[in-house]
Symmetry: C2
Subunit: 369 residues, 2 copies
């Protein structure tokens, strides 16, 4: 790989595989599917799906048919489910690439049934039940109608009943039990081949949430499925920027756009080639921290598009050479922590990883060192 001043993103596929196995170990007989929408949460659909397949994963969920087609090219034997289900005009792509749509409304169900009847396709599909997200899925009235009118299912073979927990990361939240009860009742009325409720955090709510299949995304990629407790998952990404310049500041002066930071003591300021153009959030201006070797250094001034300035006064000069790598995410500053400092969640940090990184995949059988 050519040397460049831009930042590097290292993705540990071995950690993704270890996380898959850790989650599977909580699930007994329940199948563990992988959620790889949004380019596998920003980590690269192709390499991540390959690593998960190596780890034993057979079923994948994505959001759109475009993502599914990309995955089908990479993994010809995968079972691929598509959360959004088909919009009008999109059904042919589902059939052509053997994608299982999640049908979210009686209208989508009707359209899929009509289409599959026309072309004589088996019409395998999941059905989503809205148990409290008020986002996608059948409501109680729709479920009752479907139960009363089985003709609505003409040419549709139901695979999974699925639903989604709104507050699974808060184990004591009353909604979890309410959604569980609503899901049991509705799925029982419909009579699908299988049932799936839990995502990453839901796996840790206990066996009654597991059903036939769990669908993990965030935890596979190192985010903590049990916030507030120790993270049982391995960190997957490391983000490193390189020092472009270090300057000594011995007079009072401002740093960066809007002069938002004032250096008021003799200080050393390092300018590093990473910024919000790489997905390092601008919200970390005067708030984030990075690590040079084991030295924690604060972000000073505003994060700009390509550059971030750090107060490196207490770092030895031997670690401040031109090109010195600086960790903006890694073992000492996990993604969840960065997200907390930026006022968001780790998911958004991952999906915002930009296209400018030099990406290195390590671990995984296809990437044996």
């Amino acid at each position: 790989m050519t040397e460049t001043s831009g930042p590097e993103l290292t993705i540990d596929l071995g950690a993704v595989q270890a996380n898959y196995r850790t989650l599977q170990s909580h699930l007994a007989e329940t199948e563990l599917a992988a959620v790889v929408k949004a380019d596998a949460y920003g980590l690269g659909l192709g390499p991540v799906a390959r690593a998960l397949t190596e780890a034993g994963c057979k079923t994948f969920f994505v959001a759109t048919s475009a993502e599914a087609v990309q995955l089908r090219v990479a993994e010809s034997n995968a079972h691929i489910h598509v959360f959004n289900g088909p919009l009008p005009g999109e059904q042919a792509a589902f059939v052509e690439h053997a994608l299982v749509p999640v049908l979210n409304s009686l209208e989508q169900l009707h359209n899929w049934s009509v289409y599959c009847t026309e072309i004589g396709a088996p019409g395998l599909a999941d059905i989503q039940i809205d148990t409290g997200m008020t986002r996608l899925g059948l409501e109680a009235g729709d479920v009752a109608r479907l139960s009363a009118e089985p003709g609505l299912l003409q040419s549709v073979t139901l695979d999974l009943a699925i639903s989604h927990l709104a507050c699974a990361d808060q184990p004591d939240h009353a909604m979890n039990q309410e959604q569980l009860a609503a899901f049991r009742a509705a799925a029982g009325q419909i009579g699908t081949a299988g049932k799936s409720l839990a995502s990453s955090s839901g796996i840790f709510l206990g066996a009654q949430y597991h059903f036939d299949m769990a669908r993990a995304g965030a935890a596979l990629f190192g985010l903590n499925p049990v916030p507030g407790g120790p993270n049982p998952m391995r960190q997957v990404i490391r983000i490193q920027g390189k020092i472009l310049q270090v300057r000594s500041v011995d007079t009072v002066r401002s740093v960066g756009y809007g002069a938002s930071h004032q250096a008021t003591r003799p200080a050393k300021i390092a300018t590093v080639a990473i910024g919000y153009g790489d997905g390092y959030p601008r919200a970390l201006s005067n708030a984030g921290t990075a690590f040079i070797d084991s030295h924690e250094v604060p972000v000073v001034g505003r994060v700009s598009m390509d550059l971030t300035t750090l107060d490196v006064t207490d770092v030895p000069d031997s670690l401040l050479a031109l090109g010195q790598p600086v960790d903006f995410a890694g073992p000492l500053n996990p993604v969840d922590q960065i997200a907390g400092q930026a006022g968001t969640i780790g998911y958004e940090i991952l999906t915002s990883l930009g296209t400018r990184y030099q990406r290195r995949y390590v671990g995984g059988e296809g990437n044996a060192a």
Copy 2:
């Protein structure tokens, strides 16, 4: 283009060209260079550079040599300047692809001079002067030394002296005049072929800021270079998501993750296939607005990775069909406004545009409709 449920991003290259001409019209004899780092602020380096070349742009600035090489492939005749300058080991790429490095420190200058001496290259380079950003560039002491020791420039031919204004979007900020004076003094000591200080907002500070070259990025892409006043630039992007489902809510119930929104009146909620996985900021949860035709609709509940829920109670049913497009950015909700609602700047909205959009380029000679 295959139909898919994912969102669409329309990029108006004709507007980029019009913005180039508008800015050039403020500059008299000063050359207008385009800043196209971070994948042309997220809009696509290749198509944007092509459109700008058609509009008469000859000089481009990027952040890293990797970006520059990508641009060189697309625009073989462009003058390409690289803000970061070369790190050790990176010089050969600069020579091979005829890139002009911006040298930001005496150390970078020394390395470049040694390298160009070794290989007998002409060593064309810009020099950056830090006049108040405390980010990259020579300080006053470095400039004095360079002035006193012309031997430091052996094998280096200086093209531009450049600097960067910290507060150009605040015309009355005292730093503008201070940086202007510091730049004049320092650039005069060094004696480069030309001088460049102003970026987008700097162009509107008046002719004394223009020098030989201005470097515009944000304004080319539709961001307002004169915040607080009417935007003289044309909007460049339009973001549209599609409705996946509309539901009537007639009992009190919560919407989305964390149950952060409560529907307390009979309402219609539309779920649209766009989310923070597309760069639509999670910070717009319960805060953003979108448009369906001319109807402004608020975001309710949390923006999730692939889905956003809107209160569409007051929108006629004829505009709520499955697949109906919804504007998340466009003429009625310009990028600067979205950024303000999300607590950031338009630049970060642009560079966060994800890879999941179906991208359509319109306008520009190469894209004549």
